[in-house]
Symmetry: C2
Subunit: 331 residues, 2 copies
């Protein structure tokens, strides 16, 4: 980075991103942002860090995607709480020699996803580093007081559900790394799911309104998130393998690679779909509203007394660990 001092650079980059939003009283440029909060609302706050070479590779993500996806990860946390994302802060660590052009692309990605979700950039920091590119996002959101969806509310008798399809992002990454031949439209779907995931903000709010009992977003793979809910709620989740919603491209890729398609869902991660639980009554209402909005939501299992996660199907029953199966016995 040359020819621009730190303050000029921050101004230059942040000008690319929408800074206004009805709750922003004071935005970027003072010591801190000042935000109003509606009566009866609570504030949601989450932070995520992404490091080049650890969380992404610049040969599989463009700089634009890096900005887009970093914000997406934090928006997804707000979605999982049933909240409305509003405000974004970005801290960017820039390697020596990184071009201003590439930083502009990162902020263009930030700008587009902020615009799409109605969020404003309200603060940040741009610092240099001798290490890899790193982007830390903090997203603030809002939720009616006392209604945030937690991981801990699942109750025996509830239905376990997941939104959209799962495994697409992990399959997209595999495709980018190993260049398995796939029809262009299928490849596009998977790669898009990996590079520009869509946080499920609207469904999260719908699930909160209807009264889902727990919710989590799929960051580290469905197997991990199901275990998070089971542990936090003190229950067992019994998951029907045959009901896991896989997209045709995931199935096609797995077939061509002779892999188990479900493994993309269990362990792929970064789908940023929502997984959660709801009473049958609540789920029926949520399903009906989702269908009318063209949003896919699928029952994949049920909540029982006990602990951990059990995957069933094809006459097999196995404990689904956060990483890997533990086949206990045949049913």
């Amino acid at each position: 980075v040359k020819n621009l001092d730190e303050f000029q650079l921050i101004r230059h980059l942040t000008e690319r991103v929408h800074a206004a939003e009805p709750h922003v009283q004071v935005g970027i440029g003072d010591d801190a942002a000042v935000l109003s909060v509606g009566v009866g609302e609570e504030v949601l706050a989450t932070t995520d860090a992404m490091v080049d070479g650890v969380h992404f590779r610049t040969d599989t993500l463009s700089f634009y995607d890096v900005g887009y996806k970093a914000v997406a990860a934090s928006l997804s946390d707000i979605a999982a709480m049933g909240g409305e994302p509003r405000h974004v802060l970005i801290a960017l660590a820039v390697p020596t020699g990184q071009s201003v052009d590439s930083l502009e692309q990162i902020y263009d990605g930030v700008a587009d996803i902020c615009l799409h979700y109605g969020c404003a950039l309200i603060g940040g920091d741009v610092v240099s580093t001798a290490g890899p590119l790193m982007i830390t996002t903090t997203v603030l959101g809002s939720v009616p007081a006392g209604t945030a969806l937690l991981r801990s509310g699942a109750t025996p008798g509830d239905i376990v559900f997941v939104t959209g399809t799962v495994g697409d992002s992990g399959a997209g990454l595999k495709l980018l790394l190993e260049k398995t031949p796939l029809p262009a439209d299928e490849a596009y779907l998977l790669v898009s799911a990996h590079q520009r995931p869509s946080p499920q903000v609207r469904v999260g709010q719908l699930l909160r309104q209807e009264g889902a009992s727990s919710c989590d977003d799929i960051t580290d793979g469905l197997a991990n998130e199901l275990n998070e809910i089971a542990n936090a709620s003190g229950v067992r989740l019994r998951i029907d393998r045959g009901r896991i919603p896989l997209s045709p491209p995931v199935k096609n890729l797995a077939r061509r690679r002779q892999e188990a398609a479900l493994d993309y869902a269990w362990y792929g991660g970064e789908d940023y779909q929502l997984v959660g639980t709801a009473s049958p009554f609540v789920f029926a209402r949520a399903l009906s509203r989702c269908e009318s909005m063209g949003i896919k939501i699928t029952q994949i299992g049920k909540v029982e007394a006990g602990e951990g996660v059990i995957a069933v199907g094809d006459g097999d029953l196995a404990v689904l660990e956060p990483k890997g199966y533990n086949h206990m016995r045949k049913e």
Copy 2:
């Protein structure tokens, strides 16, 4: 980092820090924190990133100090708005091979400053990096709606003030780097100011209550912050060099090194004292309250129509640029 997976490590580290605070409805452990906000309050938000080798050196700051000081920098932003800091999020990028012990020390520093200022750790992320240690802090605070102190309210006729003494932190860093002999008590004062600065939260709130017209915290040196206020407010600040409050150790160090003591104040930075403006009436009241609380606050100049910052004294008048003097004419 070995023998602990990422989730265990985050839990292990964050357990060291106070997580409860009256406004925390849901803290660390879910997708996002849930925070209540008092009626009539606005939320303050600020983010700062510190990188090893750029913003600090581990030969002049202990790991404990790194954690302490990173949070201090963000608390100081809240102080400059006249706010009450409440909630802290930490994103830590950990170099390969960094010991868990050193991470514990960082979080002990975070814990101590959070406890001192009544803040709770509500979220964070710990990631590995091939690069240097980096800590990104986000602090959320609160302020009565419409009362946040901005940089932009200075008006001709106002008094310019600064809290505490300035230049101590820069002098402390110089002392650490160049080992100039100084009496132990003086060295301790300067080094402490550098390693464990004290954000001026109480004075910031007092200045807000009394109605100061502008405020900024001294991050990048007094010369820079004065220019920030002058630019944001569209006024000229006339500063009396002889009134800049310098501590005896700074004067002593400068004398021994044959340097201009004032340069530590102008350009040293990281003092995290507050600089601002207030009407003479408001300043008189603030001064009286500060004196009764044992807090030092000093008039250092006044606000005029015009632009920029002028430093006067000893028959000399010069434009004080954010970096360096520009001597224009003799008075």
